[in-house]
């Protein structure tokens, strides 16, 4: 129907866009990761020392594992908040469903920075939470551990990413045909048994998609540690940022970036395979 010329013409702009704005920067980054900086100058001296530093230097590994821990915590807490909420909305909210759904979505329209500063005001030593605790005479002096800690980072990011986890879970629950639940009850399964045998297995693809969102977005986050993390809440993206900035060690920063990129691609590859296995909406597998 369409000529070959037409087809190749329309495919040029997107391909060019991907090449110029994605592939080229990544290629540059990859190249940088094998170079070095000597006496403040970038030298195109191909070697693996950046990767060696990354794997042997305790600071990088420590921050890297902390980042993984924070990402895992954020994912876990987001699921614990989002799943029951999505379950309630999908199955029991009745006429309030639309309103509650909007209430979950609304925070997404508020700027990330605004929410970050809000947490700062809440958690700070003279913040809202400490004032409240003091007012209740639960604490005699302000609790300092609330702000500038991994805890604060997990709290803030959980707050920010819970809607991202909620949405795919909610969509998966909404797509479960209700006659399946009736069939389960009909065959003698009570509500709890029906949840474990029908609802949870059929919502796994949504759960997985939401978890991937939260985990990967947290993995690359650098604003939350800047705002509420403090030195003990630093994450790997902050290291990258400082290496590309003040420390002026682009090659090491590039090596860390490439490692994270590799990790993210591996996770995406795995979750996609799992999602395919767990989804049953297609005609055949």
């Amino acid at each position: 129907m369409y000529s070959r010329l037409y087809k190749s013409l329309v495919s040029i702009p997107p391909l060019a866009w991907v090449a110029v704005f994605l592939l080229l920067p990544y290629a540059l980054m990859l190249a940088h990761s094998f170079w070095a900086v000597r006496q403040g100058l970038l030298v195109h001296d191909w070697n693996l020392s950046n990767y060696r530093t990354l794997l042997t230097h305790p600071v990088y590994l420590q921050v890297f594992f902390r980042t993984l821990r924070i990402a895992a915590s954020v994912t876990l807490f987001s699921i614990l908040l989002a799943y029951p909420l999505a379950y309630y909305l999908s199955f029991h909210a009745g006429p309030r469903k639309e309103l509650l759904y909007q209430l979950v979505i609304v925070p997404l329209w508020v700027s990330y920075l605004v929410r970050g500063y809000a947490w700062k005001t809440i958690l700070g030593t003279d913040g809202v939470l400490n004032g409240f605790l003091h007012y209740l005479h639960l604490t005699s002096e302000p609790a300092g551990f609330l702000l500038y800690s991994p805890f604060a980072v997990v709290l803030m990011l959980t707050h920010i990413y819970t809607p991202f986890v909620f949405l795919p879970i909610y969509a998966a629950l909404e797509h479960i045909p209700r006659p399946l639940l009736e069939a389960s009850h009909d065959l003698g399964a009570g509500p709890r048994s029906t949840f474990w045998r029908v609802i949870l297995p059929l919502s796994l693809p949504g759960l997985l998609a939401g978890s991937t969102f939260a985990f990967l977005l947290t993995l690359g986050d650098f604003l939350a540690p800047l705002l509420v993390g403090g030195p003990s809440g630093l994450m790997i993206a902050n290291i990258v940022q400082s290496l590309f900035g003040a420390a002026y060690d682009w090659p090491l920063g590039a090596a860390i970036s490439m490692s994270i990129l590799l990790l993210i691609l591996a996770i995406l590859f795995l979750t996609e395979r799992l999602e395919k296995r767990w989804s049953h909406t297609g005609a055949s597998r």
């Binding site: 006659p179 009736e182 009850h185 065959l187 048994s193 767990w278 049953h280 005609a283």
Partner: protein, 363 residues
């Protein structure tokens, strides 16, 4: 033999399930209006009605997916309508089958046994039996999405029967199948019901299907029962004009009854005194096949009349004639005949026997 309301043989002690004055409202809509129905053990009872007649709602009330607004349901002397669906010894075959997409055929069928914690040896032997019964053994490891409609139907049946329910509810289970498969599944369903000896409550809007399968048909209309009777009886002795029209085709003759004589336009005949019908306006149902061409001497007592042919509709083994006898339009089913003899606008003699005209209530 006169009327067709539930026959007095069906006492409460003999029935498996009793629906007692059930009403169901959805907002302002009254879907079921104080409906009562007894289901006998081992029978194949069909709820027949147009969409919106309340047949599926009644089924869902018995299954426990809906709560009645008023009334009670009893099963073998125990109150059923207060129990949740998972405590009722009733199983359902759903309209779109509702097979679990994440489970294979074997796990779908064994679901009812697994949730009740049956021993695994018993589960596997009963699943094998069930799959053999519906001829799906070869597909035990397949997912529902890999099966055809007819195969999914069989799995749904096996799954619903594995818990050996006292009553099986079937919600238009054949409506999603194409015509040929449907006919085949009808006969399989019937023989399966005889084999397992479980009471079937079958919902359909298809009168042919109801006639072919049922021991009894409960005809629903606007949330009330119009007639409950065996297929032959409901066809030959319809209680109401609606029943006569819904099940098969019929001619409704509206006229005046005066001292056992019925007058309807140019037609008149003597009604059996044993019917004990009061004088006044009356309505009779006369099946198209009860009217015949008078080519030879007609039997004694036959109602003979002259009518002209308006139209003829050929239907293979039979032919439908539309004729007019005076002001009365009638439909006649005859064996197909030579096109020349019954040409349109020609006049012929027709007759029917007075006992074939059945008095029906206005509805």
């Amino acid at each position: 033999m006169t009327s067709s309301v539930p026959s007095p043989v069906l006492t409460n002690a003999a029935s498996l399930l009793e629906v007692r004055a059930i009403s169901k409202r959805f907002g302002p809509a009254e879907v079921l209006k104080s409906l009562s129905l007894d289901i006998l053990p081992g029978e194949f009872l069909t709820l027949l009605g147009e969409s919106g007649s309340g047949k599926t709602t009644l089924l869902r009330l018995i299954a426990g997916f809906e709560q009645p607004t008023s009334g009670e349901i009893w099963m073998r002397g125990k109150r059923l309508d207060t129990l949740p669906p998972y405590r009722r010894r009733v199983n359902t075959v759903f309209q779109q089958y509702a097979l679990f997409p994440h489970l294979n055929v074997r796990d779908n069928v064994s679901y009812g046994l697994r949730v009740t914690g049956a021993p695994s040896a018993e589960i596997s032997s009963r699943v094998e039996d069930s799959l053999r019964m519906v001829k799906m053994t070869d597909f035990a490891s397949a997912r529902p999405a890999q099966l055809s409609g007819g195969q999914q139907q069989r799995v749904a049946l096996a799954r619903a029967l594995i818990n050996r329910p006292q009553l099986l509810l079937l919600d238009e289970p054949l409506s999603a199948l194409d015509a040929n498969l449907r006919k085949q599944m009808q006969s399989e369903l019937k023989s399966l019901q005889r084999e397992v000896g479980i009471t079937f409550l079958f919902v359909t809007h298809d009168q042919d299907e109801a006639m072919a399968l049922s021991d009894r048909i409960a005809l629903l209309r606007n949330g009330s029962l119009e007639q409950v009777a065996a297929p032959r009886e409901i066809y030959s002795r319809p209680a109401t004009a609606y029943a006569a029209q819904f099940i098969g085709q019929t001619n409704l003759l509206r006229g005046e009854l005066r001292s056992n004589s019925f007058f309807c336009g140019s037609l008149r005949w003597t009604v059996f005194p044993s019917l004990a019908l009061p004088d006044g306006p009356a309505l009779f149902s006369l099946r198209p096949e009860s009217i015949r061409l008078a080519t030879e001497p007609v039997p004694d007592g036959a109602v003979l009349f002259r009518a002209s042919i308006l139209q003829r509709i050929y239907a293979g083994p039979s032919e439908l004639l539309e004729i007019s006898a005076g002001s009365q339009l009638l439909r006649v089913r005859t064996a197909p005949s030579d096109p020349a003899t019954l040409a349109a606008a020609t006049e012929h003699n027709f007759f029917f026997l007075p006992q074939d005209a059945i008095p029906v209530r206005e509805s």
